[in-house]
């Protein structure tokens, strides 16, 4: 497929591999950052329309330059470090939130060939990296030396740890159905002659719901944004942050939203496979599915009031974990019978 690259490969010799990998990283990260920027605009527009407002419409046509203006504004702002803060950890915390959100993209397949690293234990890697994101929040809350920030980080830590369990079990059912931890193989396991009836969201429907809602909780999005909770603890863990340090938290949050949408599409909605058997598969389907799941994120935010903290914990521990445990057993038994059609 890439024959035209061979002369360059010969010229560079051993330096070829790092350069080629770096190029692939740039090709993923740059569009991702663009998508994050325009997701913020989409969010403000969609929520605006849902609440019968117009949304941003002053900067550029239909407010299309608004994300750039916001980015520029945040870049020009001063980063204030509180005098009682732990300087090193205070600066490193936003970076720790963003890096895992970017690192996961290494194993995300865009179509049958397009993936940076075709890792066998891809799903485990995704889980491990997703669980690292919480450090940024905890360290930010602690290093700020402020009680609001600290409360926000404690809430966030408890929330992420509890929803991770349900999320993990939801993924266990996916890997049981696909019999592989490789994300590409999981999509290929959903290939069949019946289009969207072959996708895992049908046999694993409860897990699809549990995974997506846990994903919303893991990304600290409304209605599970108790870590920010502006009406109770001002803005939670990032109350002391300003300028680009503050922006990095939001880059991380939106990158994580896009990531959860990609993973939901890959594991339950057939990834790059087409929903109708007579249409060709392709990367376009992937983007349509991701856009749909992202719209759900925005729809949630515009519709639901914030969960109370104890309700959040109850949902995680007393509803999702039992449901996912039972469904693991159900899928295990189901797969042994002849009624398993996937």
């Amino acid at each position: 497929m890439m024959e035209w690259l061979e002369p360059i490969q010969k010229m560079l010799g051993p330096a070829w591999l790092p350069i080629w990998t770096l190029l692939k990283i740039v090709v993923i990260v740059l569009p991702l950052m663009g998508a994050v920027a325009y997701l913020t605009l989409a969010e403000r527009k969609v929520i605006g329309w849902m609440q019968i407002r117009i949304g941003p419409n002053r900067v550029g046509y239909f407010g299309l330059l608004q994300p750039l203006a916001d980015g520029l504004k945040l870049l020009m702002k001063e980063i204030i470090v509180p005098s009682g803060a732990n300087k090193f950890l205070f600066i490193i915390a936003p970076i720790l939130t963003l890096m895992p959100a970017l690192a996961v993209w290494a194993v995300v397949p865009f179509n049958a060939e397009l993936v940076v690293a075709n890792v066998n234990a891809g799903l485990l890697y995704v889980l491990a990296m997703a669980s690292l994101g919480v450090y940024g929040v905890i360290i930010a809350g602690w290093a700020s030396n402020s009680k609001y920030a600290f409360l926000g980080s404690l809430r966030s830590a408890a929330q992420i740890v509890s929803y991770e369990i349900a999320m993990g079990f939801a993924l266990v059912t996916v890997l049981m159905a696909a019999q592989s931890l490789n994300l590409g193989d999981i999509v290929r396991g959903q290939q069949g002659t019946h289009g969207l009836l072959n996708w895992y969201f049908i046999p694993l429907f409860p897990m699809f719901v549990v995974y997506f809602i846990s994903g919303v909780a893991e990304t600290n999005r409304a209605p599970f944004d108790v870590a920010e909770g502006e009406s109770e603890i001002v803005a939670g863990f990032h109350v002391e942050y300003s300028g680009m340090a503050f922006a990095l938290f939001f880059l991380g949050e939106y990158a994580n939203m896009i990531l959860v949408s990609f993973l939901t599409s890959i594991m339950f909605l057939g990834g790059w496979l087409s929903p109708l058997p007579f249409l060709p598969d392709g990367i376009l389907w992937m983007f349509i599915k991701v856009a749909f799941v992202l719209f759900l994120f925005l729809w949630f935010r515009a519709t639901f009031p914030r969960y109370r903290y104890d309700q959040l914990m109850r949902l995680g521990w007393k509803v999702f974990i039992p449901v996912s445990l039972i469904w693991v057993v159900v899928v295990g038994v189901w797969m042994q019978t002849s009624y398993w059609l996937w």
Binding site: N120, A121, L124, A128, Y135, I138, L154, A157
Partner: protein, 202 residues
Amino acid sequence: MSFFDAVFYLFAIITTLAATGVIIARNPVHAALFLVLAFCSAAGLWMLLEAEFLAITLVLVYVGAVMVLFLFVVMMLDINLVKLREGFWRWFPFGAGIAGLMVFEMVWVLGSRQTSESSKAVLHAANYSNTKELGRLLYTQYVYPFELAAVVLLVAMVAAIALTLRRRAGVKSQNVSEQVKVKKADRLRVVKMPSESRADGK
């Protein structure tokens, strides 16, 4: 020195420095973060041995869950450093003796020719799946020890909860099922009112 060796020494040095940091850091939160770094670089070392399942599980379980809860607790402790350092020199010879003994044992076991020959890593083909191999072994050859370990862990978990669960009198709490069962009609009354004309007749 090959690239492989360079990566090994990089991870090994980071692990050792981070582990030292865990002991000498004054602030317990810093110590916990050093431990996180040590776990991450140890996971890198395991990755070099092609034990990808173990490496990722180390990050997932220890870094992603255990250390988060550790930090959670450590951050909320009110620690008096002066009191903590009291009697340091009194216990120093004792601690140093134990550390020396452990170093001696490790050198003895790992440094002997027999163990170092037999513990060389085996290189596998590109399509080798560490996860599959581990799963096969755990659920066939070692299924009874594995299940036994799981039961022991479950018992420990139940015991820990039972020990810390205290029922105090006079605690106020919400009845969640009652809250969930509430219907719109229980709380909301829609009052119909006819429109009235303004007092000034306009």
